[in-house]
């Protein structure tokens, strides 16, 4: 049943609006271009408003929003022919890093990882395939559980688990050249 404009507005600003920063953050980490990210965030919130009558109060608004963001992102990619080379909706195209490469962050990898700035981590994230990146953003950055992430990405829970593990290794591999350049590792 359609909501009145007043109730729709109230519901949007009460239940959805508090998550606008999360939406913008994920969009900025997902997209390499900031303008594109801002457009994606705006589109996500507008689509959420348009679908507000389908949102059930009391359920997870953040997960609902991230699903909308994810779908909007896919629509944008599919409609932009020039983006097709950047898209690997099949995350299996990429080679799993060798265990030696992934683990060469020295004796204290946590210290090395913490020494990277947020901007450097995001830059490395943006080198990863789309689906791997999105998985890490949902599971590790947004702290959704595997079942929630699987629901958003329409894949089995097992796929989320394997993508998370591979994605973290790929992220470390992407950071390794910079760590060597800075002489944080040999």
């Amino acid at each position: 049943m359609a909501l009145s404009p007043t109730i729709a507005n109230e519901r949007f600003y009460k239940l959805i609006w508090p998550y606008r920063a999360d939406v913008l953050r994920v969009a900025r980490m997902l997209c390499r271009d900031q303008t594109e990210a801002d457009d994606l965030a705006q589109e996500t919130l507008l689509k959420a408003f348009a679908a507000i009558e389908r949102f059930e109060p009391g359920t997870d608004a953040r997960a609902w929003l991230l699903r909308i963001l994810r779908n909007a992102r896919i629509d944008r990619i599919r409609s932009a022919a020039r983006e097709s080379s950047n898209v690997s909706l099949d995350a299996g195209d990429f080679e799993l890093p060798s265990p030696e490469a992934a683990d060469e962050l020295g004796d204290d990898p946590e210290q090395i990882l913490n020494a990277f700035s947020d901007a450097q981590i995001i830059q490395a994230l943006q080198e990863l395939p789309e689906e791997i990146r999105m998985t890490l953003l949902l599971v590790d950055v947004q702290q959704l559980d595997h079942k929630e992430a699987a629901g958003i990405l329409d894949v089995p829970v097992g796929t989320i688990k394997s993508r998370t593990h591979r994605g973290r290794a790929m992220l470390r591999q992407a950071l390794l050249p910079r760590a060597r350049e800075l002489r944080w590792v040999r």
């Binding site: 913008l24 947020d118 950055v141 702290q143 595997h146 973290r168």
Partner: protein, 223 residues
Amino acid sequence: MNSDNPQSPLDEATARRLARLRAMPIDTSRLERMIESQIARPASSPARHWRLRTWRAVAASLFVFILAGVVMWSLSGGSVQASPDVMARFHDDLVSGKVAAIQVNNIADANTALATELRKIGEIPDVPTEHAMLCCMRTIDNKRVACVLLRSEGNVPVTMAVAQASDLRMAHGEKQVVGGVTYHIQRSGNLNMVMCERSGRWICLIGALSTDKLISIAGAMEL
């Protein structure tokens, strides 16, 4: 950290680093303007809810009024004291990377990165003699404090903390007056700290340097 299944220590460390991105400061003002120009904020409630909302509003106002009175009676001027141990922890957290921080190359970058948060505090003063590396926002009893990690001579890290002068009180203790500015001196472990008030801002420098050196750095600030 998402603890859905057992992970290797390396995986856990990577997950923890990624989790910090969720706290990364972000300016939503442009997004807010764009959305609010297209989706009107709700109008006031219909009349039939007026009485209930009014009584709730009255009760809430009374509660806030009484609470404010108690708070004002128990505190002087609504400000909080920045204890040396808290400031030392801010410094250690920045140096060790335990807090989510933004990498910057200079103070101007830090002011840009924290622009939304700095509206009430005012800009972080430039310190031309030192190199800025990281910045972040912290809180002491809900009072906002901007922190910048500087690299001083000999690669010694120094944290400059800046807050609104009306929000933070100087800790009691030794004072030195240099160049017409009163510096309050504190220590915590191997860290010295000097606090001063300048141009409406409370400023604290923390580091494993002599207080004379910290005061010299403070004296080079451009406000």
